[in-house]
């Protein structure tokens, strides 16, 4: 099954932003791949570089103030090597993207059906009528009731959940191989979130779309993804199957992130938090392990640069990973 080429292959992605204080690195040495019909989670907190990774792959970072290196192959084409004109041609056709705020991500002045039809006509030579029909068809597929009349609605006339469905319809109307979903349910109510995540799973399965799901929420990853990449301070610190990560995390940050979340059966017990050690400055990135200033298991050896260790079915950026028995999301039965 995995013999076929993955839909998305990202290799050695580096992103830096040019600021008044000089070049600031946001993403370092990020590599991952997503197979057809697979949903992979990219998880991290604010400043982890997960959104910069997504925007870099889509070529949506500002040209003048950012620098992107590495490669991102979609259907055998390196997105990062394309000219702006070529990029416009593949965006929306070979890869689509949906964003966190469905409120502001749609053009408020155009009917939703027209916005989708416009996407169709940007990539295919079809008549206006055919594009409009395709828009209604895909609106129905993403679960918008009465799609023909709703296609004439303006974004402000729809609820947040409906708008996110429109965004998904627009991103998938040309059946791209890859969909990047950047915090697609963060702004939505929890009951609507469940519906949208279910929709993403169904569409990915039915159309073989490779999905990169970017989120801060481990619960969302657990319910949606097969594999997880945990990012911290611009680097991938752990990459493995979702169940493996939740059962037996090997990077202290992954484990700490799991312990921060309130969990049934521990009512009113203090939660684990990840404080910064006194005296460490948030502005200075250590040359060794970047998690070092907040790690409960830090040792002298962690001050050396940390490569991403390939353990076969898992990769971990921690030299001490085999010395630590880190807690996961469920109590481990003593062996």
């Amino acid at each position: 099954m995995m013999a076929e080429r993955p839909a998305l292959v990202v290799r050695n992605l580096e992103v830096s932003f040019l600021t008044v204080d000089g070049e600031v690195q946001a993403v370092r040495d990020v590599s991952f791949e997503v197979g057809r019909g697979e949903i992979v989670g990219l998880v991290g907190e604010s400043g982890s570089g997960k959104s910069a990774t997504a925007l870099a792959i889509m070529g949506l970072l500002p040209v003048v103030s950012s620098r992107v290196r590495g490669s991102a192959m979609v259907s055998g084409v390196d997105m990062l090597a394309l000219s702006p004109r070529q990029l416009a041609r593949v965006r929306g056709r070979d890869m689509g993207m949906i964003f966190q705020e469905p409120m502001s991500a749609l053009d408020p002045l155009f009917r939703i059906g027209d916005q989708i039809a416009e996407t169709v006509r940007a990539h295919q030579r079809v008549s206006r009528r055919a594009a409009a029909a395709r828009a209604v068809e895909i609106l129905g597929e993403v679960g918008i009731p009465d799609a023909a009349s709703r296609s004439r609605a303006y974004p402000h006339q729809l609820s947040g959940g409906m708008r996110q469905r429109v965004m998904i319809a627009m991103a998938l109307v040309s059946e791209p191989a890859v969909l990047i979903a950047d915090e697609p349910t963060t702004a939505l109510d929890v009951t609507v979130q469940a519906q949208i995540l279910g929709l993403l799973r169904r569409l990915s399965r039915d159309h073989g779309t490779a999905v990169v799901l970017i989120t801060h929420d481990l619960g969302v990853v657990a319910e949606t993804c097969s594999r997880i990449h945990v990012m911290y301070s611009g680097e991938i610190v752990e990459a493995c199957g979702v169940d493996e990560a939740l059962l037996a995390p090997e990077h202290p940050y992954t484990s700490a992130l799991i312990q921060c979340i309130p969990r049934a059966g521990r009512h009113r017990q203090p939660l684990h938090s990840i404080p910064r050690r006194r005296g460490s400055s948030p502005d200075v990135r250590p040359s060794g392990c970047r998690f070092l200033p907040r790690c409960a298991h830090a040792a002298e050896i962690c001050k050396a640069p940390q490569p991403l260790l390939d353990l076969g079915d898992r990769a971990v950026r921690c030299v001490r990973h085999d010395q630590l028995a880190l807690p996961g999301a469920v109590e481990r039965v003593p062996q």
Binding site: G198, D217, G219, P262, L271, H272
Partner: protein, 337 residues
């Protein structure tokens, strides 16, 4: 419970009692009113953390604002230890306002960027009729109480992280020794690792100071972890009130059940019962709510009576309160485990 309650010196009765509260807003343009809160009653005991949960349009924030006298109260009573907060005016209102303090979602917007942390925390003290003699000492003890140290006092808000700013907001709220702390989505904008620290702080404040907290959030996991009792709101009304344990393990209202089912669980698939979402569609408009039970349009147990008759919030066996005609008959599933 804990702390001051065990002293036995406290007067009996709840600290805060909200009775049949209605909050109405006039809709601009259309000559209509929006009933954001429609007959909500609950009590918060001394030293209790009461959680209020709901989705957008539930009216949970309007309840908080009404208690702070920041929203128009159309009907009902809000009583804080014998004082009718809803009837206060002018001077009296200012005098009693200090007894309830609020912490908001956006930690940055609540702080004046030109003030140092010290000035921000001391500001409510200066506004008092009789400022305390040792304001400086009080500020120093407050900053330590919220888990920061005196080196933070001379910094400006923009040099602090989101979590640190929220700690400063809590310190400022505590400066006037309020009896009730209202937290409106106070941890929602924070990263989980930071959010955990604020939750721990609120728990320790309750245990050590005996302060009561109204904790409002859309995140059932956080509310259920922190609160003694939880109220579930839907479209301006309370659907269910129960202890956090009972609510999550044995919900009595179909909406609570649906919320629990929709909550994404960070557990491996081997430890998680996969269940389809129990709820379709989205919350109807509060400007034009359904008749009878407000949840009936999305309820999978809906019957004829639900449209005709509004279910009152009533006690059921097990100690909770439920607004559902069929609470005794329904067998609802709790948190997935």
């Amino acid at each position: 419970m804990t702390g001051l309650l065990q002293d036995g010196a406290m007067p009996a009765g709840p600290l805060l009692s909200v009775d049949a509260l209605c909050v109405q807003f006039d809709l601009p343009g259309a000559k209509a009113t929006l009933k954001a809160v429609d007959g909500v009653s609950f009590e918060i005991g001394r030293g209790e953390i009461f959680g209020l949960i709901g989705e957008s349009g539930s009216g949970k924030s309007s309840v908080a604002r009404a208690i702070m006298r920041l929203a128009p109260i159309a009907a009902g009573a809000i009583t804080l230890a014998g004082t009718r907060l809803d009837q206060l005016q002018g001077r009296e209102l200012r005098r009693h306002r200090r007894r309830v303090q609020m912490v908001f979602q956006d930690s940055s917007d609540s702080l004046d960027p030109r003030m140092t942390v010290r000035q921000a925390i001391a500001e409510p003290l200066r506004m008092q009729d009789a400022p305390p003699a040792d304001a400086g000492g009080l500020v120093a003890s407050l900053i330590q109480r919220v888990g920061l140290d005196e080196s933070h006092l001379d910094r400006k808000p923009h040099t602090l992280s989101g979590g640190q700013k929220q700690r400063v907001n809590i310190a400022r709220a505590l400066a006037l020794s309020p009896e009730l702390l209202v937290c409106d989505e106070a941890v929602s904008a924070l990263d989980v690792s930071v959010q955990a620290g604020i939750i721990n702080l609120l728990l320790s404040l309750q245990q050590e100071l005996g302060i009561s907290v109204l904790f409002i959030s859309h995140d059932l996991g956080v509310v259920a972890h922190l609160a003694d009792r939880v109220g579930v709101m839907y479209l301006g009304r309370l659907a269910e009130v129960a202890s956090a344990e009972a609510l999550t393990s044995r919900p009595r209202h179909p909406y609570t059940e649906a919320l629990l089912a929709a909550e994404p669980e960070p557990r491996p698939s081997t430890h998680r019962a996969a269940r389809p979402p129990l709820i379709a569609g989205e919350v109807p408009s509060a400007a034009n709510p359904p008749s009878g039970c407000r949840f009936r349009t999305r309820c999978r147990y809906v019957r004829e009576r639900c449209a005709a008759e509004q279910p009152p919030l009533r006690p059921v066996d097990g100690g909770g309160l439920v607004a559902c005609h069929f609470a005794e008959e329904l067998v609802l599933e709790g948190r997935r485990a």
